[in-house]
């Protein structure tokens, strides 16, 4: 446990000692800020319209702002995840520091968990930025906070799954760009897989749609904690980290 934390702290240190963390935070903050401003603008416009037309329009902050924003974040996250994970192992392999880790009395799985945890924590920092915007909703309105919390949990689980895949990809190469590009490709593919369900109802289409990381977020976005979806994300995390461990082992046999 201690070793995991030692590695994790070192990784977080590297993120925040270099511009990576700040650039990601700023980019994410700006993009999410725009989404929020947009969603709020639409909400205000709609509510004025409905008031003028005299319709009693049931306006709900959760349904109108929080839910669409959370699913936006889950998609934007796909673009940020490769940038978080691409350096994890590729950098260590390139500079040779992997030799230090691999010859220290630390187990491979501790190294992997430490690095993955650092990536998850950095992603959590990004999510913290969104919390700033949501805080305004709580200041001026009365949204329900429980669905929001479940939404955050879903985002973290989804990111955890993709970050585990990214961590695995990063062990495959010395080149950060390659690691980032491949991870991005996988993330994108896992997003669009769900599209086949739009026109095809055969079993294979269902399987493909099931593999899509986005479909499993829908329930979380609604504020429903569905164990089926949670299990999906957790299994992807375990699978990704398992592959990472195997890849690290094979690194020693091949190198």
């Amino acid at each position: 446990m201690r070793n995991i934390w030692v590695i994790c702290r070192k990784e977080l240190g590297s993120y925040f000692a270099s511009p990576i963390a700040y650039i990601l935070l700023i980019m994410f903050g700006v993009i999410f800020g725009f989404f929020f401003w947009n969603a709020l603008g639409a909400f205000v416009f709609e509510s004025i319209q409905s008031q003028m037309s005299g319709r009693s329009f049931p306006m709900n902050l959760n349904e109108w702002i929080i839910r669409p924003l959370l699913s936006n974040v889950s998609v934007v996250g796909l673009f940020f995840i490769p940038m978080i994970t691409m350096r994890l192992f590729a950098e260590e392999k390139r500079t040779g520091t992997i030799e230090l880790l691999a010859t220290s009395p630390v187990r491979d799985i501790e190294i992997i968990l430490g690095k993955w945890l650092a990536a998850v924590l950095l992603y959590a920092c990004l999510l913290l930025f969104t919390a700033v915007n949501f805080a305004f909703l709580f200041k001026y309105g009365h949204p329900d906070w429980k669905p929001l919390l479940i939404g955050y949990l879903g985002l973290l689980l989804q990111a955890g799954a993709l970050l585990a895949i990214g961590t695995f990809v990063s062990t495959l190469t010395k080149n950060q760009i390659i690691a980032g590009a491949v991870t991005f490709g996988i993330c994108l593919l896992l997003w669009v897989l769900e599209w086949v369900s739009g026109y095809e109802t055969a079993t294979w289409a269902k399987v493909l749609a099931y593999m899509s990381v986005i479909t499993h977020f829908e329930s979380f976005g609604k504020g429903v904690l569905d164990s089926k979806d949670a299990v999906f994300y957790v299994s992807v995390i375990v699978l990704g980290l398992f592959f990472t461990a195997r890849s690290m082992e094979s690194l020693r046999w091949r190198s």
């Binding site: 500079t95 010859t103 220290s104």
Partner: protein, 328 residues
Amino acid sequence: MIKVSQLTKRYARTTAVDQISFEVAKGQIVGFLGPNGAGKTTTMRMLTCFLPPSSGTATVAGFDVLEQPMEVKKRIGYLPETPPIYPEMETSEYLQFVGQLKGLSGVDLTKRIDYVCQRCAISDVKTRLLGKLSKGYRQRVGLAQAIIHNPDVLILDEPTAGLDPKQINETRDLIKDLAGEHTIILSTHILPEVEQTCEQVIIINKGKLVATDSVRNLQAHARGAETVLVEVAGRNSSLEIPSVQIKLEQVAGVSRVLCKEQIDSRAVFEIESKKGSFVRGDVARAIVESGWDLNELRPAAMSLEEVFLQLTGNEAARPQETPVEVQA
């Protein structure tokens, strides 16, 4: 302390290390000598549990590298060829991280950091970013990292590669200094380095063990048959090469004389002595007494390859030696 037997590392097409066996006693400094690509790094990586051997065994302090890697890793300090540093970290931060990785914490860790900083003379760069340090400092930080947990065994892969002469001397002194407390294996492709720092030498070439010997014996091998270059000039702007050659060949202990080049009345000869005889004085006297000028007399720098050739030539007679593979 270290026992290696029949250690082999095979890759898909090549055999990087081929059935190497040697032993290192506690507290010794052993030089691991071989040209680039000889398998030095691979052997060291197997000893540090970075690479698993294909066959054969290696034990460090009684623990097998395959069976009990954790125990081995706790007892080994390793400096790879390029110091494994994180450029975005400060020196003290980095040493703290490595110390924690090696299982140190609290007051022990602080004490060890202070100790290794002072020992490796890096106290003045404690708060500098590693990425901004010079090559020499990085190497010393690398050494500090290797000794932070006070390991029984130190494995240093080309610790002086890429340093300037002053830094090389400092690093060698530091290594010699550390020898009392640790068993040290250091690899190098520079012969004098072994002579200056090591007690025992292990020579490998193309993955095979060529010789394990004490440094004194190796020196005897290398120096036994000495090669000297002399430049001879004629007094009155004429020099008869054959007569000089005959004169030089007559000197006691000379086995072979070769005329390397001739410019006007000057000529450079390469003189090879017989094993165990020192001919420089006699050669000089012979030249001067014959009425020629002796412009220059210097020992020909013996390249490692020549030492290898010599060693393998001499060693081939010994039955227990593994003969060096001859490439077609």
